[in-house]
Symmetry: C2
Subunit: 392 residues, 2 copies
């Protein structure tokens, strides 16, 4: 196993009715709270009313940023930061999926930042020196933001998106009640499931698979669980067993636990980000569903076949001696699984014009540091372009 550091200091409070744990958190962090959420979900699920009841009992004063966009904007961050400073807010509660929780983290830093525009801090992390405590109530099983120290922020003025990553941004607690995910629409359940799988696969599919045995086998276990539970939640949205397992899986898939001891790779995620970055109507998880199997096909060679074959045998139960054959079967299984959710399977189907593929390939290479996408198979700009063409 390669050297690594691992830390997830977030208290996970998991189960039906666990919103009651807010009482303890108020006692711990204070009675002046900023709520950060994105409109609908907190109303549909009834979370908002439940919070109001607890806040009333505890005598909490609160303010709100309730209009966080799907890709949170630095404007919301500045607005939240100003509220915190003006009202001397004690801590921040993010409610929702990745966007609301990401935004709550950036606000926590903005609240302690002396400048006026938090974008300066996003661009220069050394300016982040303190942050308010952050907690969250998770309502979607997909992003892992509920337990990680990462916040992705967009700047409409400059058309940039950047990640703010800092140990001060670890949530202090995450309340995870699977019931809140019962109302997640079918399509979102599908793309959330695919996103989790692709996060695991991205770091699982490396040559370290034979060295980092313990994290690799645990990753295989979690992949199997997601493959089993995803379709159940998709077809039966109020299935507690499926929803609870997926909710737990989301955090474990993305918090770094299954990547320890391996070289950390970013492969299909940056390749997809260039697509949905240029065409925001493309949903990240659907883009991943299109690109992941093509990435596997592109990376498959006599040198890498044993990696994809292990995936086939241990995750999909594919039998056979020949690594190439087992690897190909594993890729087919992956394609079929994604297709079973009814997601589209070609870039042209999701509205990406063929002529934009070269530009997107350039963006990918820039995103990964200027040379190549490293992973199971090193990919230069022309490789990424070929991959896009295969997927188009």
């Amino acid at each position: 196993m390669k050297a690594f550091n691992y830390l997830i200091p977030t208290q996970i409070i998991f189960g039906e009715g666990k919103i009651s744990a807010l009482h303890d958190q108020i006692a711990k962090y204070g009675k002046k709270v900023l709520l950060v959420y994105s409109g609908d979900v907190v109303k549909i699920t009834g979370i908002y009313d439940q919070i109001m009841e607890i806040f009333k009992e505890e005598g909490v004063s609160f303010w709100e940023v309730g209009d966080v966009a799907p890709n949170p904007r630095v404007d919301s961050v500045n607005k939240g930061g100003a509220l915190c400073k003006e009202h001397d807010i004690d801590w921040i509660l993010g409610i929702g999926g990745g966007s609301a929780i990401d935004c709550s983290k950036a606000i926590a830093a903005a609240a302690k930042y002396e400048g006026d525009d938090a974008w300066d801090m996003v661009m220069d992390i050394s300016l982040l020196k303190d942050a308010l405590p952050i907690g969250n109530i998770s309502t979607v099983a997909a992003t892992g933001s509920e337990i990680d120290p990462i916040s992705g922020i967009n700047n409409d003025a400059t058309n940039e998106k950047k990640g703010l990553v800092h140990p001060l941004l670890y949530p202090k607690f995450s309340i995870q009640d699977p019931l809140y995910t019962f109302t997640v629409p079918k399509f979102q359940t599908a793309v959330g499931t695919i996103d989790m799988m692709c996060h695991i696969l991205e770091n699982y599919l490396t040559m370290d698979i034979t060295e980092a045995v313990a994290p690799t086998y645990m990753a295989e276990g979690l992949l199997k669980a997601i493959i089993e539970m995803g379709p159940v939640a998709y077809n039966d949205p109020k299935n507690y067993k499926a929803r609870s397992n997926l909710m737990w899986a989301a955090g474990q898939a993305m918090c770094g636990l299954l990547e320890v001891g391996k070289v950390r790779t970013r492969t299909v995620h940056p390749i997809e980000h260039a697509v949905s970055g240029m065409y925001p109507s493309v949903v990240h998880g659907e883009g991943l569903a299109i690109l992941m199997p093509r990435y596997m096909e592109y990376a498959l060679s006599p040198e890498t076949a044993h990696v994809l074959a292990q995936y086939g045998r241990n995750v999909w139960g594919v039998e056979g001696e020949d690594n190439m054959e087992v690897a190909k079967a594993a890729i087919e299984k992956t394609k079929e699984f994604f297709a079973s959710f009814g997601v589209r399977t070609r870039l042209r189907d999701v509205g990406v014009p063929e002529e934009s593929l070269p530009e997107m390939a350039k963006i990918v290479i820039k995103d990964v540091g200027g040379v190549s996408v490293k992973g199971l198979h090193e990919m230069f700009e022309e490789d990424v372009l070929k991959l896009y063409q295969m997927a188009w």
Copy 2:
């Protein structure tokens, strides 16, 4: 999945040469340090010299409790606590396996305890109100104490053993360099491997196996990794791949990660503790190797066969349709695996006289709350006695 809370806030710093991370920890926690260890291991592995070099560079003043016994005594705790108070020590560094690290935690609490005898605090946890920061350098893959908030302390005067468990006792950091485990003797490697497996199995083998799918499949993955790597480390003590995977596995096996969403059970561990408690020459891991397969046999019934069969299929690759047959094969595999390490397989072989079995069964029932051992199969005092007789 059942409701649960999960928190492991310890920074894990893993890999060859990672002792260098001590520089950062000194900067964070201070320059007056108490070292807690148990003689030999820090000398054999060269850790002590490495620490001295870093302490010298950093200008650290240090004191020592260097004679921690295998089952740490409250006398060592009081001694360490007094040193901390007298010299206004900033933080505590435990070095070694479970005993040294357990002792370092209790000393951290004793340092902030106003009374003279820390045993009062062990007996009444409400007296624990503060603790010094604790870090550790782990040298054995076995106990999980390096990342948990649990400290087991013995009192020779009253002949009692008790666990001190408190969130303030979470280590701030754990340095895990697999090289330090190269000198762990073969027998210790064997019993450490068995102990990890039994910790996982104890919580894996429950009726929740079909509900908590994600933690269950991850547990199966880790069991497979331990089964693969244990014999490699046993036969080739300087095998970095095996030692690193086992070192990582130890923490994950025991930190609660694989038990989330399940009813927490204590079965074979209390049944073994009564044995090694009465006969301290019995090594805990060897006792477990004797008792775990018998526990499985005792618990096997038409109602529980599917649980043991899943273990057989997913961990051992046993094939077959009939759950009872697959379960029996899984138990055989487990026995054979333990025996492959050359550990003894009967209570009589490790020096337990037959006439003490009834007394031990009473102790077990007392330990688990006075009624029965709950798990895959509820066991009353007469069941525990029968189990002991099967294992004698």
